[in-house]
């Protein structure tokens, strides 16, 4: 179905300049079609067979193949369409191509789920990465509008990525330093728990822009600026608190009472009990909390661009202001990549840190 969609829907869009609406081109009129068509059909067939046989590696292979071929096809399409066009003309990625990419992503996750061996994951992901890089360097992918926007932004883009990460990372770090102890306190003292969980819960329900607005008054009372990185980091920290506090508490509360009793009965002090028994057992959930907080914070970090922090959100607001869709994409796509990367990194961390004795139960 995704195959049909990507063939029927516009594959690439040619516009006279970056702002006005453009002319859609289907996959076969957009050059490189042969390549894509063959690949997509092949991948579709392989993937369907693979699903029947429940072989994850085939799905992964199909996914990476689609990704690579798609990149090259888009590059080829851009080159072909721009040949002889006006200097300000742009080629944007069409709906069909997006769908094909989404299809590849679905195949990828289905494959990664079914595949036990890690080598297939590694091989297919490096093939996809190399193919993408190759398409960027030689395949004309650089002629696509989003890449042109990137070139226009130049080093400023990486600065925005850096600020985005710095703001999100700082907030996450502070939230961990505050949130984990709060979670421990919640597990120890039921009365404190009710208050703490209620407060962080309420913060979570305040819309992000409203929270930024609300912060201006108390900060001003303290003589601090209501805009800029400080309120931004404060707001993000507050958002990150709920998942971390809650999951730390739930993790600790979920430790079997008999296990704690055994530890106490064998002469562990409270801190030894916490560090050697409760913490390792609660760890999967604590990391899970940090993971959801990380993804949340990377998303909300876009919003703090409103108060003058140079995050990727700036590109989105700028793009919306100029009705330049591809500039919006240049802000949004890296954010998605960052969120997925953070998610993956923390999952790996969880695998590495959690004892094999409880790993199965945790995932």
């Amino acid at each position: 179905m995704a195959l049909v969609a990507c063939l029927a829907l516009p594959f690439a869009v040619l516009r006279p300049n970056r702002i006005v609406a453009g002319v859609s081109h289907a996959v076969w009129s957009a050059g490189g079609f042969g390549l894509l068509l063959v690949a997509a059909c092949l991948a579709g067939a392989v993937a369907s067979v693979a699903t029947l046989r429940r072989r994850g590696s085939w799905l992964l292979a199909a996914a990476s193949a689609i990704t690579v071929v798609l990149a090259w096809a888009l590059g080829a399409a851009a080159s072909t369409l721009l040949r002889g066009a006006a200097p300000f003309a742009r080629v944007s990625i069409g709906g069909g191509a997006w769908l094909a990419l989404a299809g590849a992503a679905v195949l990828w996750f289905a494959g990664a789920h079914g595949e036990r061996g890690r080598w297939a994951l590694g091989v297919s992901s490096s093939v996809a990465t190399l193919g993408l890089l190759g398409a960027g360097a030689f395949g004309g992918l650089g002629r696509l509008s989003i890449a042109v926007e990137y070139a226009n932004q130049g080093p400023q883009f990486w600065q925005l990525v850096g600020t985005h990460l710095a703001v999100a990372g700082t907030a996450l770090g502070i939230a961990m330093v505050i949130g984990v102890p709060f979670g421990v306190v919640c597990a120890r003292a039921p009365r404190v728990r009710a208050v703490v969980l209620a407060v962080v819960g309420i913060i979570q329900t305040v819309p992000s822009l409203a929270l930024l607005g609300l912060l201006i008054v108390p900060l001003a009372a303290l003589g601090l600026p209501g805009i800029g990185p400080l309120p931004g980091i404060i707001a993000l920290t507050l958002y990150a608190l709920l998942p971390i506090v809650r999951d730390t508490y739930v993790g600790l509360a979920g430790v079997d009472a008999a296990i704690v009793d055994a530890g106490r009965g064998m002469g562990m002090s409270r801190s030894q009990l916490l560090l050697r028994v409760e913490a390792p057992l609660a760890l999967p959930l604590v990391i899970e909390g940090i993971r959801s907080a990380a993804v949340l914070v990377i998303g909300i970090a876009a919003v703090v661009a409103f108060i003058g922090v140079g995050t990727l959100g700036q590109l989105i607001f700028l793009g919306i202001g100029q009705t330049a869709d591809d500039l919006v994409l240049l802000g949004a796509v890296p954010m998605v990549v960052l969120a997925i990367a953070a998610d993956g990194a923390l999952r790996l961390l969880s695998r590495a840190l959690v004892s094999p004795g409880i790993r199965e139960a945790a995932s």
């Binding site: 055994a262 002090s269 030894q272 057992l281 004892s355």
Partner: protein, 381 residues
Amino acid sequence: MITLEHVSKHYGETVAVDDLSLEVAQGEVCVLIGPSGCGKTTTLRMINRLIEPTSGRILVDGHDITSVSPEQLRRGLGYAIQSVGLFPHVTVAGNIMTVPRLLGWDRPHMQARVQELLALVGLDPAEYSDKYPRQLSGGEAQRVGVARALAADPPVLLMDEPFGAVDPLTRERLQAEFARIQKELRKSVIFVTHDVDEAIRLADRIALMRDGHLQQYDTPEALLDHPATKFVHDFMGADRALKRLGRVRVSDVMRNEVPTMQDGSGAETMAQRASCAESRFVYIVDAGGRLEGWFDCVAFREGRVARDAITSVDWREAAVRPDTSLKEALSRMLGQGFRSIAVVDGDGRLLGDVALAGIEETMTAGDAYITHAGGEPEVDV
């Protein structure tokens, strides 16, 4: 070794334990038993200060337990509980090393101890050291729990229904193993259970409690034969004679010399020889002495062909071990409809047999047997 002096525990209006005085001698197993809510677990937990008594004094080895910190006290008392409480994130070896680690033993010492303890509780150290608790069966986990309690070689063991969560067959095995280990190590043990048979089998003395009061504290025989109150009488049950068999092991009444033959093929010549004169059954064993079945001389004499007089069995099902209790052996005999049952070792080698007649003798001539726990002879049955 362990002395409780007028110990009480109140929770507001509720009295969990009321003015309890108890003394457990060095190397003795004291079983605390009673209906749920009688205060037996509370009593146990007061000894390692998981619960602080409202009043009274507890001494371990002559020292008031409040003279050291609770942590220090607990590291010196082995502790095993019903749901095992093994740390799921730590390997079997790591679990056993819990207390030694708290005491700061060096690594080689701890590892040597793990090997020793796993062997003691009947688990192969090479196979089990690196397993995680979730990879163990219920019985294996209980063994590791006992090994962990013994790790730092504490003089006192506190056990709260340690075999409560396993099936009856495993339980029977674990009890036998515990009796063997205890015979070897001679710890002072306080053992909480609600299972009368378990108490009778393992206890040197039973403390029967009800509503926080001590009803009677004496040997299992005394509780069975001279119950102090009607409650004790009722709690120990009507089948007291049977229960007493729980105190006797098969090895105490086993007949060691039994007629055997190497295989069934020579049955006819065998039967015509002396074997059948002295016993109705002749056991059939393989070359290694392993039990394979038996030959029924009476059936043969009554005219059946030799082949039909042979019963083939699997020793795992049809025989008992020397450390099986007589009560268990009797119940197996009745269950299988035999008047005697073969006794084999762990590899199935025939050691002898126990006959119904032998058990009857034990029941009537109370002083003729030796209890494995060294209890006093009985006269008035």
